[in-house]
């Protein structure tokens, strides 16, 4: 058990390493002079030189890498070129809206998708099943921002139930204001997530329903609801939880777009502002940050397997 935990934690080290190397090389291997690219079209030679100095690009690559990794291990994600603030500080400033949006999305999506997928699997081929499948295909087909604008058009501009844009903090502006503002972004971002989870739930519950132990449960005289909950869903849990973890990558991409549509001052907006300003240290720092969050969540999910499946215990 302890060994399993230790092995899983150690297994994340090479993955984090690969991410770090990749992000590091991205800037150095880009065609042309990265300092000139970052400085932009109207930069003077001094500007370019200053940026080169600041990013340490005039040193040999191994030295750059050693310094960069050393700083990284101390939690230093670099310094913004334009604001001169540490990237970690910028992330901390923008973390709250993104974190709350992600949490509300995951919660909403799981609560909707798991029951939908389970019932669809149980009544495979029924009208409800077809509806769920259609919804999930459609969910994968509509771009997040188009969905956002449709919801704004109908619910905010048309019916005027909810505010069009913006973000209110539950800590400063009250929970109600927060909920009113987070509702549309949550719905927008949830759709693809619901599609993903419902699909996986349906597929894995359907597979489990074919298993012999389901037949055993029925042979005991167990009723269908208990067969579904206690035997089918319980055994289908691992792939469902896994797909939630994989979906985090999707969620992060969606956050950038959703924050842009709804004008939410979170990490996604930070990325876009950095791209427009060519503030490369911020982009680099955020990619690292998001990747590590993804790895961490998937590590936790790996560890949760030991609770979900007694066979996984090395």
């Amino acid at each position: 058990m302890l060994r399993y935990v230790l092995m899983r934690i150690l297994a994340t080290v090479p993955v984090m390493g690969v991410v770090a190397v990749f992000v590091f090389l991205m800037l150095r291997l880009a065609p042309g002079d990265p300092a000139a690219v970052i400085a932009g079209d109207y930069a003077t030679a001094e500007d370019v030189a200053r940026i080169r100095e600041q990013l340490g690009l005039n040193q040999p690559i191994p030295v750059q890498f050693a310094k960069w990794i050393g700083a990284l291990l101390q939690g230093d994600l670099g310094t913004s070129i334009f604001t001169n603030l540490p990237v970690t500080t910028l992330i901390a400033q923008r973390l709250e809206p993104t974190l709350l949006l992600a949490l509300s999305t995951i919660t909403f999506a799981v609560v909707v998708a798991v029951p939908l997928g389970t019932i669809a699997a149980w009544r495979a081929g029924s009208l409800l099943d077809r509806f769920v499948m259609l919804f999930s295909v459609a969910g994968f087909s509509v771009p997040v921002f188009v969905l956002g604008y449709i919801l704004i058009y109908v619910l905010a501009m048309g019916l005027q139930w909810l505010p069009v844009q913006g973000y209110k903090s539950p800590f400063e502006d009250g929970v109600l204001a927060f909920l009113r503002h987070i509702a549309l972004p949550t719905m927008t971002l949830s759709v693809i997530f619901i599609a993903l989870i419902a699909r996986m739930t349906r597929a894995s519950v359907m597979e489990v329903l074919e298993e012999d132990y389901i037949r055993t449960a029925r042979a005991k005289g167990q009723n269908e609801l208990r067969v579904l909950l206690r035997h089918a869903l319980r055994n289908a849990a691992v792939p469902i939880v896994t797909v939630i973890g994989i979906g985090i990558a999707l969620l992060i991409g969606g956050v950038v777009v959703t924050e842009s549509v709804y004008n939410i001052p979170g990490l996604g907006r930070l990325v876009l502002d950095a791209v427009l300003a060519r503030d490369y240290p911020i982009i680099q720092g955020l990619i690292l940050f998001f990747s590590f969050v993804y790895i961490l969540i998937n590590l936790l999910i790996d560890l949760s397997y030991t609770l979900l499946d007694p066979r996984i215990r090395y």
Partner: protein
Amino acid sequence: MATGRDTDPAALSADAKLPTRQEASLASLVLANRGVFWGGALLLVMVAIAVLGPLFTSDPMALNPIKRLKPPTGEFLFGTDFLGRDVFARVIYGARISLAVGLAVALIAISVGLVMGMIAGYVRALDAVIMRVMDGLMAIPGILLAIALISLSGATLATVIVAIVIPEIPRVVRLVRSVVLTVREEPYVEAAIAAGTRLPQILLRHILPNTIAPLIVQATYISGSAMLTESILGFLGAGIPPEIPSWGNIMSEGRTYFQISPWIIFFPGIALAFTVLAVNIVGDGLRDTLDPRIARKM
């Protein structure tokens, strides 16, 4: 161990001689799937529009400052944008970009992933290295990676395609590798090894054919997701150069005027959604007929 093959009634009815897949021609079976048929028809219409459409519409780049932000009318079916350009002509032209990006990304990702996946599945020494790199690549959120790559190397059609391809590769590698690992354990492959068949032939004759069906399915999903990513990049202003009227770019330019002229976003959005939907429905249909089990695992 001996196994009574008829212990399961479901297996029994499956064992009874139902017309098997190979007996009906594969093509007719695939087309008999409703998803493949209707999705494919829709997709064909889209391709026809992309190829022929621009020949019949007005110039998608022509400015007409007097007729800025006009709502849809008989003259401008989808209205006009903030420079008075015909949104209908632009959406028709944008279909070319979207479909081209989808096709290119799918082809490149599948080819690269196929080679790497075969190597990972068959060369034990490289397996761990390749898979760790793929794990790392999967951990980087695809859109962020694409944005970063494009902002560094300059936005052109080619860089956008490459930037969308890279995050798609790990999934293909994993798929191919898992097929290889399953199939190489099959007794018929072992029999071929025992018969002295060389590795290239084993791969070509016995293993590669098993990857084709799941890869076709995967290719459709990739092209759908590539079209979405392209539009998102365009929308965020980090995609194909703004002078090219891709659907993402049209919508990006429509953002500022959304409250007064929502059609600039809705029409290309609907076109995109339907195209991707068609691709995904074809993908689901192909998966159901070609390779239900392997595809479901992914």
